[in-house]
Structures are given as C-alpha cells and as structure tokens.
C-alpha cells in the first residue's frame, strides 16, 4: 500500500544540478523561495519573518533503491546504511531542512540556506519545537 503525498508547493533556487548542491544547508547553500499552491495558502497565515521552521521536501532526483551509501559520497569512507545518513538517496527521499524565514510575499516565502534543487516539491512546513533542539 503506497501513500499519496500531494506537493504543497515547490522550491525556487539557483541550484539546478545535483553536483552544485551543498551536502547541508549550512554549507554555503543559497537562499531560496518556497512557492505554495493556492489550495494551502490558509495554512501559511501565521508564519512570520524571522521565525525558524522545518521544511520537508521530496528529493525528486534521488535514487530510491539505495540502502547503503558512502557518507557524503566519499568512497574513502566506509559504506553505511542510509538510515544512519542524510543521503538524499533512500527509499523515501524526504528532505529535512531547518531554515529561517527572511521574507514573505503573498504565497512565496524567502528562506535562508536551502540545499534543495530548483523545482523540488514541498511536502510540509512545521514550527521548530524545543524538543527538537534539546540534547
């Protein structure tokens, strides 16, 4: 039984090829726009500039058959099970990104460093909770 996820929007970014994309958002990823579909706009109404949010994306150019990877694509490092890595190649390639909202223009949110490629589907946006950050 598969689950049907309906994209709530997509990423607009200067990153267009996977080789260009940093491994993580804090490794020099550019700012990006999140553009939402009209049908979900009511859900955005309490987002504010300056807030940190968790953005979930769907890495649509990932390989879903991959279960073991060399971390960060470095073949000198031992291969690891994908569930111990953040590789985009995994059975359900959901990207998890913690970003700050820099601007809001109608159905578009400008966010800080995001390592997702242009056109990547958006799946969800959530507030950051204390329990996400406590150690």
């Amino acid at each position: 039984m598969s689950i049907a996820v309906e994209p709530i929007g997509w990423v607009e970014s200067p990153l267009v090829e996977r080789d260009q994309a940093p491994r993580q958002g804090d490794e020099g990823a550019p700012e990006a726009w999140l553009v939402f579909v009209d049908s979900v706009l009511d859900g955005l109404r309490d987002l504010r500039v300056g807030a940190e949010v968790i953005v979930l994306t769907w890495f649509d150019r990932a390989c879903r058959d991959t279960l073991v990877v060399h971390p960060r694509g470095d073949r000198s490092r031992p291969a690891q099970g994908v569930f111990s890595t953040r590789s985009p190649d995994r059975p359900n390639p959901i990207g998890l990104h913690r970003v700050r909202i820099l601007a809001i223009e109608g159905k578009r949110l400008r966010v800080s460093g995001l390592e997702a490629l242009n056109g990547t589907p958006l799946v969800d946006v959530k507030p950051v909770l204390d329990r996400d950050t406590e150690r």
Copy 2:
C-alpha cells in the same frame, strides 16, 4: 502530480486511539517498537542502541483537508494556520519524532516516547545533526 511514498515499516505501540495519544512524545508518550519491512533492512545496519534519531511517520488517521486549527485542540486558543503548528491534521500528515534507540532486535527497534498510534506507517529514519539542534 502526487508522490508515492512506500512505507518502510510501522509502529507497534500501546496507543490505539487518537484520544489516548499525548500531543508530543515528551508528554508521557510510551516506548514503542519500530518494525521494518524486509526490503529495507540493509539500510538499518549502522543504527546503534543509545543513538538519537529522527523518525518520520505518516499519521494515517489525520484529516488532510485541515488548514487552520486550534493549537492542541484547545478552542479557547485562537485558530492558527497548520504550518505554524504540529497538528497531525494537515495536507501531508508527516509526523516528525526525535527519539532514542533503546534496543535493537533484528528488524525491530525499541524507541523512547513516541506519540504515534499503533499501526502508524514509518516513512524514514535519519540521524540527528548538529544543525538540527543549534539555535
């Protein structure tokens, strides 16, 4: 265009009804088992007891038409757009859970407080990164 997510397993929990479930895992949620399908077992091989991981679930009993909610179901609080809340009711009801691995038995992982109901599909498991936790 919808995206087909294939569950990688499911939750075994004493929580069977939504009214029983705590709002968050650190609010008294019980320990649970994550049970994986055979086809993804190679991806689990580097997970270790004691590690903290992020588990993504699919809240299959959520309402996907909801865009505005009263936070925590409290009608005395003003309604908010779902993307500013952790309500399970949202267009793509993906649950985000930070838990600790307590035991590993073959294709089953025992994890600390998880607020997902028995039978909830598992979508992904990721390691916690520093960037998830820095403020």
